[in-house]
Amino acid sequence: MFKAIGIAAAFSLAAGAAYAQAPNDAQIAHIAYTAGAVDVAAGKQALTISHNKEVLAFAQEMVRDHTAVNDQALALVKKLGVTPQDNPTSQGLAKGGADKLKTLGALKGAAFDKAYVANEVAYHKTVNGALATVLIPNAKNAELKSLLETGLKLFKEHQMHAEHLAMSVK
């Protein structure tokens, strides 16, 4: 089942689940962390494949920025004594990320650059939506909520950067 599940579908699971049972803070932390980790992995892959200076700079930014937020997330859950809880949304994200790595890994040169950047635009759009409509509204802890809001600002900037980049890697 998870083979077919896209990232958007994974998040709509979480949204749908909100009617039955909204994700709790431990699950939200896990989802947010996983979302960041997926993009760090994609960025690291791009750094080994792309030869385009702008794509490489973008990939470095993804690795750097998402690692910074995830480090903060780790410090926060440690401070709050919360153990991030695995859940179907995180699993869907991780699986989607792994599948994408496989697909992109088969590409080279301009084809890779175009596909990587296009995916980054789509991925950031999807995660932005999830942050705004599911994760932030359901977060109970104020510090977690604040960190998620920082995450949303960041994801929006990344989406913008990816969209600009998409115009030049056509």
């Binding site: 700079a57 750097r64 920025d65 910074a68 937020v69 920082t150 600002k153 960041l154 900037e157 600009h164």
Partner: protein
């Protein structure tokens, strides 16, 4: 006695001239703080990055391009009057404009 000696040591022209100023622009929550209103040629901007992310202050005309690692302070001195729109190279929504007036001297 000490005060008298200090006054005698200061040249008159130094009292009349306006010393170059340093203005701080702080980045926080993925935004540049407000640009100083009275920036003049010879003044310096101190960029302070209070975020956890690497940012940059990059002029659209490329006249300055400052990489700003988290918690770092960097300085840019303005030698030419003009209007300088700038942005962060990594986060294009982060923008600002500096207006540098001619020297007051």
């Amino acid at each position: 006695m000490l005060a008298g000696a200090a006054i005698a040591a200061v040249p008159v022209c130094a009292l009349a001239a306006k010393a170059p100023a340093i203005y701080t622009v702080t980045i926080a929550s993925m935004k540049f703080g407000p640009a100083p209103a009275k920036l003049h040629v010879g003044d310096t901007i101190e960029w302070v990055n209070d975020d956890i992310f690497v940012h940059s202050a990059t002029a659209t005309d490329k006249s300055f391009d400052v990489e700003l690692k988290p918690k770092v302070h960097m300085w840019t001195t303005f030698h030419k009057a003009g209007t300088y729109p700038f942005a962060c190279r990594y986060h294009p929504g982060m923008t600002g404009t500096l207006v540098v007036a001619k020297s007051e001297r």
